[in-house]
């Protein structure tokens, strides 16, 4: 890289820059400093998540009940399994990356190419998994009713599982009674052409209430976490009263405004933090692809050093490192 650096002719002297106390190249050091600042950004987000969670500590959604889906295993409740798989994929791609760096140290072009390729594949699988996770989260599964105060009321019944009374969620699709309604979604073609409206909820609160009144077994569950660390289930009369008096909006799935799993902030932070991390993974994959082609073209072979692979490797490991923390604070704790 000598050709790209202007020399003053005093390099060998200490004050001319001849002293390298950190024994690291400029690029590598700057990558480390970038990582420190990016780590602060992420810890800012995660600490803000902690702030909101402490603020609503008695009613925060329980992650195990939110992320229960695994692709191709429809209808089964398998908390954590898929995220654990995603974590493993990312750690695995970190391993192939470090193997690529190691092969680079031995100037082994074929191996660097292979391991870089595997790293890119791992990153792509991770981003794809995250997209699937988002889609599932946005689509929602059971649906809920939002109260005037913005709280979420969910539905379910007690069932006997192996001699133990367990609260099992019921989807609003199963008991809501459709009532012919005059309210039609406002579209450009049937109303004012210059105005639009967001799509209407699948049911009205009245339809939910009628369905709830008709099914004696269904109870309402609030956001409040009780002594046993579970969400409070209301009595039958209280359930009916809550929906009748406080029910305002039927919610299915989650977006930045409403969230059927609980506090809307939970969805906001989920989108923001995993989105920001996913964007890092995506840009990591793009950078990896660029380096991959450079390796194939023999750029680093001619340069005589595969340090560029090492630098992009540092970034890639950092993305893995962040995921380890996101995994803990979003899915475990």
């Amino acid at each position: 890289m000598d050709s790209t650096v202007a020399n003053a002719g005093t390099e060998e002297k200490t004050w001319g820059g001849g002293n390298q106390p950190l024994k690291a190249s400029y690029g590598k050091m700057m990558m480390w400093f970038f990582i420190v600042s990016d780590a602060l950004t992420f810890s800012g987000f995660l600490a803000a998540y902690g702030f909101s969670r402490f603020k609503f500590i008695k009613e925060w959604p329980i992650a195990d009940e939110v992320f229960t889906h695994v692709p191709f295993l429809h209808g089964q409740e398998l908390p954590m399994i898929y995220v654990a798989f995603m974590t493993f994929i990312l750690i695995m791609s970190s391993v192939t990356m470090v193997l690529a760096v190691d092969a680079g140290h031995h100037m082994n072009k074929a191996k660097v190419t292979l391991y870089m390729f595997l790293t890119i594949i791992g990153g792509a699988i991770f981003v794809g998994s995250q997209a699937w996770e988002w889609a599932t989260f946005i689509q929602g599964d059971y649906g809920a009713v939002q109260t005037k105060g913005g709280n979420i009321l969910q539905f379910g019944e007690y069932v006997n599982v192996d001699g133990e009374e367990k609260f099992k969620r019921i989807s609003i699709d199963e008991f809501a009674v459709p009532i012919a309604d005059v309210r039609v979604e406002h579209e450009r073609k049937n109303g004012l052409w210059f105005r639009e409206e967001a799509s209407l909820p699948p049911y009205t609160v009245n339809e939910i209430y009628t369905g709830l009144a008709a099914n004696d077994n269904i109870l309402v569950r609030t956001q409040i976490i009780n002594e046993e660390g579970e969400k409070t289930v209301l009595s039958r009369e209280e359930s009916l009263r809550q929906i009748k008096d406080n029910g305002k909006l039927v919610v299915k799935g989650a977006n930045l405004h409403v969230n059927e799993y609980g506090t809307a902030l939970f969805a906001d932070f989920f989108f923001f933090i995993t989105g920001f991390h996913g964007f890092h993974v995506f840009s990591g994959v793009v950078i990896n692809i660029i380096i991959f082609f450079n390796v194939i073209l023999g750029t680093y072979e001619r340069r005589g050093s595969y340090e560029m692979v090492e630098k992009v490797g540092l970034y890639w490991h950092f993305v893995d490192l962040v995921w380890v923390f996101v995994f803990t604070f979003f899915y475990l704790v």
Partner: protein, 148 residues
Amino acid sequence: MAHEHKLEIFRGLWKFKSNTQKIWGVLAFLTLVTAVEVILGIYKPEGLMEPWMTPFEGGFFATLMNIIFSAFIYMKPLNLIFIILTIVKAYYITWDFMHMRDETKALRRMVVWTGVFLICYLIFILLQEGGYVFEVYNAEDAIIKRDF
């Protein structure tokens, strides 16, 4: 360019013949830690769901002890275990995958101490504040009503 790697982890308890072997060894360890986390997360053992200590009552020294032992008094042991395991994982990713183990002491401290100090500060401020806002909303004499 000479690339010497320190080929041992766990303070020399586990030695490796080559860097490649060390990478696989670290992977095995990280996978084990993740598996432990997932199993604990799914089964949630009863004994780990309640804090191990109750808060000290009394004056200044009780408060001091509550601060010193806060991790055992106010946190579920399960969550404490998760956080410790996460930091262990972070350590091995940084030290062995990012080769922090092979960097000079000065670079290592520049990156790690700066980050750790600022992150601890950030977490303290925000969690303290979050707890305070919770108190304002939920105390006996709270005058703010948001749950209706």
